[in-house]
């Protein structure tokens, strides 16, 4: 391929590998893959089982060892060391052969249209995924795999259990491969930009060390600067000020009262496991948020995090089905916000702060939230809309939003002033809650359908509910109890906008409109 050839002139080895990987031919994964995928665990488990049950296993299969005690003694005393070693070598050879065959049989190819994986020894599977339907590409580097210079790639597709896993690839190749897949998927006719590469050291150990210490953001694909810096103090504070802490406090206080009043101190024994559980929860959330970064690339938003095991995902434009900026009452004083999204794909891998991978920003102040919104919704909301949304976050009502009438206070005694909607260019914005503040942004091209409903209570008050349907996720875009006429108007407007936006949307091939360079 010509475009990768001139990239190869800048950086010697890596682009060649990538050009090879995307040439439409079948390729194999990293040779250490079977070992990394479960071989090590298998061996470790076998080792533990054997060492624990050695006597019994031996007694079970070879009852005549019983009187001899240790089989090692038996082997030594009978002079069959050679035979024993041969058996061990034989088992090892069989294991290696199985690993080798499973590696040989596991191959993938990437063409201009699809990515295809086939695997399995006895039960063959073949999975083909269209590039223009990619919902995101995640590169995970578990700690152990990083030592081998390997990385796991997960190509998300819409639907349940529909993701394509490439586990494992060479660590450096994975980043380049992702860029190349995204370029093919984007529909751009431009060649890849030449990679102004970091010089890769020739020494293997230096290279591993370099990869290990490299920032999670690939420096040549993204502007190196993350738009958000997650301060350690804020991170710890946000984790402590969570619902889990309230629960833990409730348990401690309730348990304390109960124990001191009844004098049954042995109950403390039962409290210990749950405290360890909470501790583990805090530690996991904490370590999974370290080195958090989020930045924009031409092919979407990139989010990376993790200290020892790292993860780094690119969400192409038009793959975010709705965005929620929220603030629990516990974070109110600190002015912290959290951002979550709805996505069409469902991944088992966890996101930042060990939360579902739909949590884009675990915690941030208003500035951070604004910067992340600007990053995620560049084509969807204009500059002025971001300002309106930002004001809407903290406003008490009486602004650009169309809010519920006073009679809605029967149903929403605290939040009726804030409860409202706003149509901005490209998006629909819903605002809810006075205690638990929330803003939900639904990009118009992602809207699946819209519903309007009214029950007897709402009818008596002259109110109605509006539901914006997007793919399922943590966010439900429903606005309760707004004025009936406003709701009818909103419903009609949204129905029209949904049709128009759906027809004009080209984000499945997000760079296809780009002029040829």
């Amino acid at each position: 391929m010509s475009d990768t050839d001139h990239a190869g002139a800048v950086r010697e080895d890596v682009p060649e590998i990538v050009a090879r990987l995307t040439d439409g031919q079948w390729h194999r994964l990293h040779p250490a893959s079977p070992l990394l995928r479960g071989g090590i665990a298998l061996i470790a488990i076998l080792g533990v089982v054997v060492s624990n049950l050695r006597e019994r296993l031996v007694g079970l299969f070879l009852p005549r060892f019983d009187e001899e005690g240790d089989p090692v003694d038996y082997i030594l005393s009978h002079g069959i060391i050679v035979q024993a070693l041969l058996v061990i070598v034989g088992v090892l050879l069989v294991l290696i052969a199985v690993f080798y065959v499973s590696w040989r049989m596991h191959s993938f190819r990437i063409t201009n249209e699809v990515v295809e994986v086939r695997s399995g020894i006895l039960f063959r599977t073949n999975r083909k995924a269209r590039l223009d339907r990619i919902q995101g590409i995640n590169i995970v580097r578990p700690f152990f795999a990083r030592l081998f210079g390997a990385a796991k790639m997960e190509i998300s597709q819409a639907g349940h259990d529909a993701n394509v896993h490439l586990a494992y690839l060479g660590s450096a190749a994975a980043d380049d491969l992702r860029r190349e897949i995204l370029r093919l998927a984007s529909g751009t006719r431009n060649a890849a930009l030449p990679v102004t590469g970091v010089a890769t050291p020739d020494n293997l150990i230096d290279r591993r060390l370099g990869e290990f210490l490299a920032p999670e953001l690939d420096p040549d694909a993204a502007p190196p600067e993350s738009v958000v810096n997650l301060h350690l103090g804020r991170l710890i504070g946000s984790i402590l000020l969570s619902e889990a802490t309230l629960l833990a406090l409730a348990i401690v206080v309730g348990g304390g009262i109960w124990i001191t009043s009844t004098g049954q101190y042995y109950a403390l024994l039962f409290a210990l496991p749950s405290l360890i559980g909470f501790g583990g929860y805090y530690v996991r959330r904490f370590t999974r948020s370290l080195r958090y970064s989020i930045a924009g690339t031409p092919d979407g938003v990139r989010i990376g995090f993790g200290l020892l095991s790292t993860s780094n995902e690119t969400l192409p434009p038009g793959r975010i089905h709705s965005v929620e900026v929220s603030q629990s009452v516990l974070w109110r004083a600190a002015g912290w916000w959290q951002i979550r999204v709805n996505r069409a794909s469902h991944s088992s891998s966890r996101g930042a702060a060990n939360q579902a991978n739909t949590t884009i920003l675990p915690v941030g102040n208003l500035d951070d939230a604004r910067r992340v919104l600007e990053l995620m919704l560049p084509d969807l909301v204009g500059e002025e809309a971001v300002a309106v949304i930002e004001k809407g976050l903290v406003s008490r009502g009486n602004d650009a939003f169309t809010t519920s009438p006073r009679r809605a206070a029967w149903l929403l005694p605290l939040s009726w002033r804030r409860n409202g909607f706003l149509v901005v260019s490209g998006s629909l914005v819903l605002r809810k809650g006075a205690i638990w503040r929330r803003i939900i942004i639904v990009p118009q091209p992602r809207l699946q359908s819209v519903a309007l409903s009214q029950g007897p209570v709402l009818r008596a008050l002259g109110l109605a509910d509006v539901h914006l349907h997007t793919v399922s996720g943590p966010i439900r875009a429903t606005l309760e109890a707004i004025d009936k006429d406003a709701a009818v108007g909103f419903f009609g407007e949204v129905a029209q906008l949904a049709v128009l936006a759906g027809q004009n949307d080209t984000s499945h091939r997000w760079r296809s409109g780009e002029a040829e360079a």
Partner: protein, 160 residues
Amino acid sequence: MNRIELPQTGEWRRVSPKLVAVELVAGAVFLLAVSAVGVGLWYLGVGWLAIGLWAVALVALINLAFTPRRVRAIGYQLRDDDLLFRRGIMWQRFVAVPYGRMQLVDINRGPIARGLGLSELKFVTAAAAAGVTIPGLPEAEADELRDHLVLLAESRRAGL
């Protein structure tokens, strides 16, 4: 006067009145089953549970009385670019789905509906909550509508 009325909509296409019979039979079976269990529980001496079940049966009975009215409230319109669907009297619900968002169309026939030659058409999008299910369509009409919707969706295809 506080009811939702959509402005400037065209003529609502109604479902077959035979759907009333289907709903009545289904409702009656439910009613009988609940009352029978209630009677059984009464003789077993679990009076409070029996009274609860009879209350449920009473609600079901009232509900049954409104069946013809509820069936008349179901309607749909094939607008230029989207399908508009409505149902409910007490709990009114309107849904607008652009044709391009269609992922698939299901046609289901229950035993009673099949006896009366009726089908139920389900319009499925990527959003689970949309829930556009049009019951009580004559079989031929349902098949025709399904093919029509597939054609419309094909010509207005949108991404996810």
